[in-house]
């Protein structure tokens, strides 16, 4: 039986973990995607193909790899992170980062190729150029953020494997739904699913509102 305070704690943890993973993915994906979109170097297509493959990484595979790394006998075992929220954040970041990176690169590649030269030709520094290119691509970049968040708030495999679904510590909405279903508590599972859907909807509604407002301006 799930009590209100427990549901609140699970929901809060879900949001904290997924929002942190999305933010870290943004910090990695935005510069990396920009570098891939604007750079011309040997191996660029290969790296892009790896990133694009990473966009479809199965969460359960990510969970397995992260679990092996964080396991007591694994290379990062000494950090004692397995079955902690940090472990879930690590796994979710690995899931979301390629999504944000790939969509950032695609968003910038879709801009007029002369735009960058035009900004430089008007005296922009390289940082100013990148800033204004991001500004021009802000709508697809927001879509990249939404996709990154969507890919982690809804995943269950990685959270289960590296978090362990420990009550009060690493239980998030998706792993709680799996647990309640396995116990035959379909009513609770359904209620939690509805909560997850409503939360996801509200966050996407806010981001879509920002996106549409940008389009109408």
């Amino acid at each position: 039986m799930l009590f209100d305070s427990e549901v609140f704690q699970i929901t809060l943890l879900s949001l904290q973990v997924s929002a942190t993973a999305t933010l870290i993915s943004l910090l990695i994906g935005l510069p990396l995607g920009t570098w891939l979109a604007l750079g011309s170097f040997r191996g660029r297509s290969f790296i892009l193909s790896i990133i694009n493959t990473g966009m479809a990484l199965p969460p359960v595979v990510v969970g397995l790899v992260v679990a092996m790394m964080l396991w007591r006998s694994g290379p990062l075992g000494d950090l004692h992170l397995i079955y902690t929220p940090v472990a879930i954040i690590m796994a979710q970041t690995i899931i979301a980062a390629p999504v944000v990176t790939g969509l950032t690169a695609a968003a910038l590649e879709a801009l007029d190729p002369h735009l960058r030269q035009q900004l430089l030709g008007l005296g922009a520094s390289h940082l100013q150029t990148i800033w204004y290119l991001w500004r021009e691509a802000r709508l697809p970049l927001l879509a990249a953020l939404m996709s990154g968040f969507g890919s982690v708030i809804s995943e269950v495999g990685a959270s289960m494997m590296v978090g362990g679904n420990i009550r009060g510590q690493t239980r998030v909405l998706t792993t709680a739904i799996v647990l309640e279903t396995s116990k035959g508590e379909f009513g609770t599972a359904l209620a939690l699913s509805t909560l997850l859907l409503v939360l996801t909807y509200l966050i996407n509604l806010a981001l879509t509102w920002i996106q549409q407002r940008g389009q109408k301006r």
Binding site: H114, Q117, L122, G123, A124
Partner: protein, 238 residues
């Protein structure tokens, strides 16, 4: 003054531009004409320090571009492309863009942008978003955005090619007057010899990446330097 000395520009290891010598004097507008893919835009990009040269030097006021800081040099020039390439913001903000890059104060930016807006007769557009402009209006804004910087060198890459003939004629007339008034050094790339004659004092004909002839429109028409220039002129007249 710009002095081009024995430059070679390559793309994918293939030479696309090979210019032995070409000068542009203070206050002069030089037009570059030539067929598609002849290297006209490549020359402009090299002059803007947006493409590296594999050999030779381009000197600006006696100093090779390589010795100017990239940013320092680019802040002395301005570039107008065939497409207006306006950003998704108001006309006034677009025109002020280069001044913003240079960290100019809001008051001075507003004052300078306002002056150019008035000069180009686009006051009524200044609060509109760039996406709401017609092709001619957008290109006029693009010109204002370049001119507001008072560049020592203005580079124009077929800025009127996509416009309808009446708009094109008007803008060429206005630009010609502005360039003469400001005594600005400019390089104007075009397909059209008549446009080149209206805007520039001298014309350079580039074919297959090489400068074949430099002179006035009259000289080029009456005495083509070689068969390639003659053939190009014939293509233009057809």
């Amino acid at each position: 003054m710009i002095e081009i000395r024995n430059i070679l520009v390559t793309r994918n290891n293939r030479p696309v531009l090979d210019v032995a010598a070409l000068d542009i004097k203070h206050g002069e507008t030089l037009a570059i004409v030539g067929p598609n893919g002849s290297g006209k835009s490549t020359l402009l990009l090299a002059l803007a320090y947006l493409l590296p040269t594999a050999r030779g030097d381009i000197l600006f006021n006696g100093k090779p571009l390589k010795q100017w800081g990239e940013l320092e040099y680019r802040r002395k020039i301005s570039f107008v492309f065939q497409s207006p390439l306006l950003l998704d913001m108001t006309v006034e903000q677009n025109i002020a863009l280069g001044l913003t890059f240079r960290g100019m104060s809001k008051e001075e930016t507003h004052e300078r942008a306002g002056r150019r807006i008035k000069q180009l007769g686009i006051e009524s557009l200044s609060k509109r978003r760039a996406s709401q402009l017609s092709g001619g209006e957008a290109q006029r804004v693009s010109l204002a955005r370049a001119l507001v910087l008072d560049p020592e060198l203005l580079l124009l890459d077929e800025p009127f090619a996509a416009l309808d003939p009446p708009t094109r004629k008007n803008l060429i007339g206005e630009l010609s007057a502005l360039l003469a008034e400001d005594q600005r050094m400019a390089v104007f790339v075009t397909h059209n010899l008549n446009e080149a004659a209206k805007l520039s004092q001298r014309i350079a004909v580039i074919i297959d990446g090489r400068v074949r002839q430099v002179g006035t429109a009259m000289q080029i028409k009456s005495e083509p330097a070689d068969e390639t220039v003659r053939a190009f002129l014939q293509d233009l007249s057809q």
